[in-house]
Subunit: 267 residues, 2 copies
């Protein structure tokens, strides 16, 4: 073998394959509402011939703004096919907590919460690049609550990750039907999540014998993964939300190791 070829081969083993992150808006519909999600994948790592694990991304109550789209692109860079779902309608985003609360309020406690997320999951699977046996959902704040509701609806997910989500205690029946493993990442001093909510949630998970990991991150308040949280809090006059770099980095690492586990073996 020629030296140049050996050198090329040895470098090829070390350097990443030149890859391109592909993103595109995907229109879809659920319950008569026109929606538009955001698909992201690395076209060298996820192909129709070699499908990759898929990750559904559910936004905060602000709607499908740049934050969940950026997360989808980060997930694509890790080799996953990611779909950031829409729940409010194509282009509906807000920075007003009152409007956000009204938008999110349509979903809490109703089957629509899981149903609309499920429509996003269907779009992820329709990408043609996803291994349907290896799919997870992650969500932020209201989106964290949504992926819990999706899991408790019995959706075919290997796992969910909830970041600073409101906590939904599943009924015994919902727990029985749950297939997903749960990674719950919470700020230790999140003023939006009362201790009673945490206690009731953990009790329901324990009673239902669900497979979960619950992580509490020191010093973190609501929205701790969102770099723009401080800015949004200031502009909206909203207390109790803010970025926390350590909790963001740690919870992302915990998500990665969770994915390594749940995507390791095909069922």
């Amino acid at each position: 073998m020629k030296a140049s070829l050996v050198l090329f081969l040895s470098m090829a083993a070390v350097l990443p394959v030149s890859a391109k992150i592909v993103t595109r808006a995907v229109p879809y519909e659920q319950g008569g509402v026109k929606l538009e999600g955001w698909l992201a994948y690395d076209d060298a790592k996820a192909t129709p011939a070699h499908p990759a694990p898929g990750v559904l991304v559910i936004p905060e109550w602000w709607g499908l703004n740049d934050y969940p789209k950026g997360r989808a692109e980060q997930l694509a860079a890790l080799g996953y096919v990611a779909f950031a779902a829409d729940r409010f309608g194509a282009g509906v985003v807000t920075t007003d907590p009152k409007q956000a609360g009204e938008l999110a309020g349509q979903f809490y406690g109703k089957p629509l919460m899981a149903d609309r997320a499920r429509a996003g999951l269907d779009q992820l699977l329709k990408s043609g690049r996803v291994d349907a046996s290896r799919v997870a959902a992650i969500g932020y704040c209201f989106g964290g609550a949504t992926v819990q509701a999706l899991a408790f609806s019995g959706a075919p997910l290997a796992g969910i990750v909830s970041f600073h989500g409101s906590l939904i205690a599943p009924s015994a029946e919902a727990a029985t039907g749950t297939r997903a493993k749960l990674l719950i990442c919470q700020g230790a001093v999140d003023p939006f999540i009362p201790k009673e909510q945490v206690d009731a949630f953990l009790k329901a998970l324990n009673d239902g014998k669900l497979d979960f990991q619950f992580v509490s991150y020191a010093g973190a308040i609501h929205a701790f993964t969102n770099l723009k949280a401080d800015d949004m809090a200031r502009r909206a006059g909203l207390n109790g939300i803010g970025y926390n770099a350590a909790a963001d980095r740690r919870s992302w690492e915990h998500m990665r190791s969770f994915f390594a586990e749940i995507f390791a073996v095909k069922p």
Copy 2:
């Protein structure tokens, strides 16, 4: 450059260096008690010229049996210098919960708890292969409580990991003097750790603004990392302790990612 040399260099970058895990018993003394710990390192990864991060390992209340020695060897395989400390006296181990309770009972609530662990830390540093700016302590059950006490005594540790430890709420003064970051790994249904203990612990960590991560693992009871826990429980007629493979694997991974963070940069 000759092809053979290139080939050699490219392989050297990929294949691990042939390494040897060195272990040896280390006699030492504290408070008039003759102790004997267990040192483990990879002599290719931790040398006097290139010291490695160090990890102190504090055993369960059974004493320095094969379990903590095995953990020290696992840590050595990861490239750390590990020292499994003795607290009860050279060769003092038991499988009798009553005797274990008496042995451990000498330490709880007393400065001796941190002092004796500190003597083990000194031995770790004296190995001559440890980067003193990158040292952590891990502990199991009573050893988990001990590494908390060591951290709260102000010991020069980058971090501690407590596995299924009793939880010691630090005083405000102790919290102020604490330098270590904390990773606390608990079984979600550990009957040895009352909920009031968890609540008081987390409150003290939050009030003291300590840097912690608290992880609760589904379905795990006391001693969940110890493969022999079921056997020991049966033989001792002890309820509430048992191995949990998922919680063991996950907490070990969380420890590894915690070490990657706290050992990443030299202060």
